[in-house]
């Protein structure tokens, strides 16, 4: 016990001797979390203070184009800049000056009206067959119209598909309304008479979990803080593995092997100190979410009633990360091996764990891999606490997985170390 305590104190001293290192350990995660939340928050927000400038070429100049422009403007997401020539708009977008150009084709409004009228007439004529035999005029064929979109090739796919969806919806709505209008004109003389209700009949409402009688509405802080905190916690494997590799290179490790002390105790000292670092990091990040976010105009992180569970998850996630660090440090021969490998590996684990892309949209194979990423267990546990309002009991499976991961990685480190030194 005394040896473990002495080892812990030594690690503590080593850590405090590198003030720059500590600063990086604590400041970088904070910078990370603030940056990511600001970025993500603005892309979630509907009323954003920044509008995306887009180009629009209006070859129609009719009712439909008017509706498109006014609903684009009303959406508050876009600032619509009108151009005369498709050519010009396309070039500007392809050069990357604008994200998007929308080209509204000629005679869109009039052709749409004509087409709809034709259809409506066609339907109605089926009902009126006996009353009046109109002479059948050869119908003018009206070609379907296309609204052309140009995207900057560098535009992210998610942005692209959400824009496409929005425009698609807008066009459908205009079409439906035109159909209603055409029927209306055919059936009734009075324009003000209400025959059709044009409001949507089917609507949807999202029902969110409740805590007491308060709804838990997830905001970007509830999503980002756990995800990126976990990311930062796992980054502990870089300094930890460097610490171990250094110990091997400066000969102290050989000395320790001649001392009556086991590798497990040496690692135990490191585990204790680096776990404390993880928990301090975690506390800082929660504090940032709770106190600093509202001051920056970001959504506040709501930790009420869940502090205990949050720290439980952070503790075990930290352990899992440390286990990985111990293993990496034990196996790596040089810092040049451990540092880049550690950093890249954390990014891979984070990707697999669902920090960027939710696990459910991943390909099947990746989903399987995700199930064995400790970052995924940790993230699920955090989401359970933050968003699903889980109780401690519900966290137990994930916590056990994280703990097992630590035990197994630590054991592998110890066994590997024995094997390697048995030269």
């Amino acid at each position: 016990m005394h040896k473990l305590w002495a080892s812990t104190y030594k690690e503590f001293l080593l850590l405090t001797r590198d003030i720059g290192g500590i600063a990086i350990l604590f400041i970088m995660p904070i910078v990370l979390i603030i940056t990511i939340t600001i970025i993500q928050d603005s892309s979630f927000k509907t009323i954003s203070d920044t509008k995306i400038p887009i180009l629009l070429v209006n070859n129609d100049n009719g009712r439909v184009s008017e509706t498109i422009i006014s609903s684009l403007t009303a959406s508050n997401t876009f600032q619509v800049i009108q151009k005369d020539k498709e050519q010009e708009a396309r070039d500007l977008v392809f050069k990357g000056n604008y994200q998007l150009a929308i080209i509204i084709p000629e005679k869109l409004s009039s052709d749409l009206d004509k087409k709809v009228n034709q259809n409506v007439e066609g339907i109605l004529s089926k009902f009126r067959l006996e009353e009046e035999e109109k002479e059948i005029q050869p119908e003018e064929t009206i070609l379907s119209k296309e609204v052309r979109l140009y995207f900057d090739p560098a535009t992210q796919l998610t942005f692209k598909s959400s824009v496409k969806n929005g425009i698609d919806k807008m066009i459908s709505k205009i079409e439906t309304q035109s159909i209603y209008k055409a029927f209306h004109e055919q059936v009734s003389e009075d324009d003000t008479e209400v025959i059709f209700e044009t409001d949507n009949f089917i609507s949807f409402k999202e029902i969110v979990p409740k805590q007491g009688d308060k709804e838990i509405i997830p905001n970007s802080a509830q999503h980002n803080v756990p995800a990126w905190t976990l990311f930062a916690i796992f980054f502990i494997i870089v300094p930890l593995s460097i610490n171990i590799v250094k110990e091997k290179n400066q000969g102290t490790f050989v000395r320790l092997r001649t001392n009556p002390v086991s590798y497990a105790i040496v690692l135990g000292g490191k585990t204790t100190v680096y776990l404390a670092v993880c928990l301090i990091q975690f506390t800082l990040m929660l504090a940032i979410g709770v106190f600093l976010f509202p001051k920056l105009g970001l959504p506040t992180l709501d930790v009420s009633g869940r502090i205990f569970n949050l720290f439980i998850v952070a503790f075990f996630a930290g352990l899992a990360a440390i286990g990985l660090g111990l293993l990496l440090g034990t196996v790596a021969k040089t810092q040049e091996q451990s540092a880049p490998f550690g950093a890249t590996f954390v990014v891979i684990l984070a990707a697999l764990g669902g920090v960027w892309v939710p696990v459910f949209v991943m390909p099947k194979f990746m989903q399987l891999l995700s199930n064995i990423s400790p970052m995924n267990w940790g993230l699920n546990a955090f989401y359970d606490v933050f968003l699903r309002n889980a109780s401690f009991i519900e966290l137990v499976p994930e916590i056990i997985l994280l703990l097992l991961f630590f035990i197994i990685t630590a054991l592998i480190s110890i066994v590997y170390n024995e094997k390697k030194n048995a030269v």
């Binding site: 002495a6 080593l14 001797r17 000969g251 000395r255 001649t258 001392n259 009556p260």
Partner: protein, 246 residues
């Protein structure tokens, strides 16, 4: 005290044996010198005796213990490695406190042992300075203290005086003699043959993992034709060729 029988070591992947069928007996309270050219197998032999590596064949006992009782054995012996084995970012005191603790020492006892040793080796003024700021000779002395705080019965020193000035060397040798007077058996390697000649009660000259000659320094000198000192004996036995191989 130390009994070595037919001890051999061949490293994994190595072509030749680094220690080969070596027999040796070292008595209590001896100061025994292991001399030999670069690559002769001195460090390998010490590493074997300290259980840092496992023998390929053969056996040894130290005070009746073998490498199968690692913790008792480690408590009994002290090793001063050839390379510095200290935390540069920690002070001399912090390094020594830590390594002392690894031998189960603590509290006031540990403190007084550290300050005593530091005093004798002339480092009191630097006890609270970081080791990274120390000169080679100062590091050597701290490297030594870190291995003797638990008062080992057997002390292995791998070139404890390499790269130090005459002053430092004298302090180190004096201190080792003091430890020896208090009852420690000392096994030491060195390339300073003059130093070994004065310091050692007995020496062995090793080459290619085998002992080619052993005895009291004066004995070896008088047995060798035209030899005036250990260096003459050494050259006569090991030849003048360089020993560079890896």
């Amino acid at each position: 005290m130390i009994k070595i029988e037919q001890l051999s070591k061949k490293y994994k992947g190595a072509e030749a044996y680094s220690v080969s069928d070596l027999d040796l007996f070292i008595d209590e309270k001896e100061i025994f010198g292991l001399l030999g050219p670069n690559g002769a197998g001195k460090t390998t032999l010490i590493s074997l005796l300290c259980s840092l590596i496992k023998p390929t064949s053969g056996s040894f006992t130290i005070d009746g213990l073998t490498y199968k009782n690692p913790n008792q054995l480690k408590q009994l012996i002290g090793i001063v490695p050839q390379e510095y084995a200290l935390y540069p970012a920690l002070t001399a005191n912090e390094n020594l406190t830590y390594f002392g603790s690894m031998y189960g020492l603590k509290g006031q006892l540990l403190k007084s042992k550290i300050s005593q040793a530091i005093e004798i080796l002339g480092l009191s003024k630097f006890a609270n300075k970081k080791v990274s700021t120390f000169s080679g000779g100062m590091k050597r002395r701290i490297n030594l203290i870190a291995s003797i705080l638990h008062e080992p019965k057997v002390l292995f020193l791998d070139e404890p005086t390499v790269g130090v000035d005459v002053q430092s060397k004298n302090v180190i040798i004096k201190y080792l003699q003091l430890l020896n007077k208090k009852g420690a058996t000392i096994i030491y390697t060195s390339h300073h043959l003059n130093e070994a000649e004065d310091f050692c009660t007995r020496v062995a000259i090793i080459d290619h993992g085998k002992i080619i000659s052993q005895g009291q320094p004066q004995e070896l000198i008088s047995n060798q034709k035209n030899a005036n000192n250990l260096e003459d004996v050494f050259l006569a036995l090991t030849g003048k060729a360089l020993r560079d191989h890896a």
